[in-house]
């Protein structure tokens, strides 16, 4: 029950006041005062602001501790967009790695090969090195599982940490981010997607429930 309360407080804070700094503050003292009588469990399009990726990148960037030997890997394609920004902002010396996880997806038997597969590019030997895996949106955790399986076919890292811009909840595997831009629990029929054209933004879609 406390879990539920905390969630809804976080959401209403984020949505109503556009605060993107959840990880830096402890909001538990607000629970009694701020909890409104009725709050939606998830954003409703047209009524609630959708978070700004750029702000979340800054938020994420502040959490990642400086480490000279860090190897950063973005997961294609959204994760690479975020990793490129973080890699530049944190002035990481080693070149950025990019990983395509399509050959490791667990839904090949259901959906077949994805139409677009990009090459993985891991320009270093990462045995015994520390890896920071970057993705845009964390949902079921299956992508991260696939990414880790893929990485172990290239070498044996000393550690893998996970940085995620937005955690939309709905986990199906025991995967949690080490660094997080924003926790925004969505319902199953709600979809959020990172888009890059001129600007970087989230596309939000709320499907009507199936009958």
């Amino acid at each position: 029950m406390t879990y539920m309360l905390t969630f809804s407080v976080r959401i209403c804070l984020v949505l109503n006041q556009n605060l993107n700094t959840l990880n830096s503050y402890d909001f538990s003292f607000l629970i009694m005062k701020k909890l409104p009588t009725k709050q939606p469990a998830a954003p409703v399009p047209g009524q609630t602001p959708i978070p700004q990726p750029e702000a979340l990148i800054r938020q994420l960037q502040q959490q990642i501790p400086p480490a000279g030997d860090l190897l950063m890997i973005g997961i294609h394609s959204g994760g690479v967009i975020i990793a490129q920004r973080l890699h530049k902002a944190l002035a990481i010396a080693e070149p950025l790695g990019m990983l395509d996880i399509n050959f490791y997806r667990d839904d090949f038997s259901q959906v077949g090969l994805q139409p677009v597969i990009r090459s993985s590019h891991l320009p270093w030997d990462f045995d015994a090195r520390n890896i920071l895996l970057v993705d845009d949106i964390l949902h079921t955790g299956r992508t991260v599982r696939a990414a880790m399986n893929a990485l172990f076919d290239y070498g044996r890292p000393a550690s893998i940490r996970l940085a995620v811009l937005l955690d939309r909840g709905g986990r199906e595997l025991p995967v949690q981010p080490d660094y997080l831009g924003l926790l925004l629990p969505l319902q199953a029929q709600q979809h959020i997607k990172l888009i890059q054209d001129q600007a970087l933004y989230f596309l939000f879609r709320d499907d009507p429930p199936c009958r």
Partner: protein
């Protein structure tokens, strides 16, 4: 046999039997997928788990080293289990029909057959008799088709030349017996190559070959003039009935690719050969081992292209939910 036997109801590739009737997007998608599999061959662990738990049968009723080995490696790098059957191991030598051989192997819950046979149409025949979830790849049937070879050749051309829109390609040698040439001509036409030439002695040129959309030459140097790609073919003595060439020496002097003849082509032209090569018969060692030769790159690329084809076929099998 209908061409669309190899397409499912969504237009996706179910079997790969011939390139005839396939559109450019299907070929491009195979080549693009192969691009990403090249990387797997460079890794320490040269395996991805796409076909884990699937069984691929290499059903070779006709001898092969390169094609069978690269199919086997391709399947293994996709984590499939592979069974290799060669002519001497098969009960067809005891009187069993090809379809009975296949039915028995199906009864062992196999998922894909890679078929080579000296009779044209064997892969089609098998494809029209297997249950819906089983996939067939034609690895060469008689003089008819060898689509995976043509696709790996297209991949190699694209790798060196970027695209097909400005290219002149010459295919030289024993066109008559070559299923490779037929598949290459189809592939080049589908991919938009504006000029495909074939050259060889009249006895080794099929009648009406020009109907496939090629320019026909009997003078090799004329055929090579200004081309970007030279594809040499092996003289298929084992398929020849009767005297089709006067002598090996005379054939080499007229149609063997020597450094001298190669100067007629563009200076950056690449030289290809599906293998096995006969040095001193259709190609001079100086050319086969020279810097314009991409013959070994073709072999390497063969694995990635065959991985791409297997992954696409098996993916479509899974996606249509036909696996029972």
């Amino acid at each position: 046999m209908p061409v669309n036997l190899q397409l499912d109801e969504h237009g996706k590739l179910r079997h790969l039997l011939t390139l005839d009737g396939l559109d450019r997007s299907i070929l491009k998608s195979i080549l693009d997928t192969a691009e990403t599999f090249i990387d797997v061959g460079h890794r320490e662990i040269k395996k991805v788990p796409l076909l884990r738990g699937r069984t691929v049968v290499n059903l070779f009723f006709e001898a092969s080293t390169r094609t069978r080995t690269t199919f086997e490696l391709a399947a293994k790098r996709l984590s499939a289990d592979v069974i290799n059957l060669s002519p001497e191991k098969m009960s067809t030598s005891k009187g069993e029909t090809v379809l009975d051989t296949v039915r028995n192997l199906e009864a062992m819950h196999t998922d894909m057959f890679v078929v080579r046979h000296h009779l044209s149409g064997t892969a089609h025949l098998i494809a029209s008799h297997v249950p819906a979830h089983v996939r067939i790849i034609n690895a060469g049937d008689g003089r008819h088709a060898h689509p995976t070879q043509a696709l790996l050749d297209m991949f190699t051309i694209r790798q060196h030349k970027g695209n097909f829109q400005q290219l002149k390609v010459a295919i030289v040698g024993d066109i008559l017996h070559s299923r490779v040439a037929r598949s290459q001509i189809l592939a080049l036409n589908i991919l938009g190559c504006p000029e495909v030439r074939v050259a060889g002695p009249r006895t080794l040129l099929p009648t009406h070959i020009e109907r496939m959309g090629v320019r026909v030459f009997t003078d090799m140097v004329e055929a090579l003039n200004d081309v970007d790609v030279v594809i040499m073919l092996r003289l298929q003595y084992e398929r020849m009935q009767g005297q089709l060439i006067p002598s090996a020496q005379e054939y080499f002097s007229l149609y063997g690719l020597t450094p001298g003849k190669l100067t007629a082509a563009r200076s950056d032209a690449i030289v290809m050969h599906p293998g096995p090569i006969n040095r001193g018969l259709e190609i001079d060692s100086a050319v086969a081992d020279g810097k314009q030769s991409v013959i070994l790159a073709q072999v390497t690329n063969g694995i990635a292209v065959r991985m791409a084809i297997m992954a696409q076929l098996m993916g479509a099998s899974a996606a249509t939910g036909t696996a029972q």
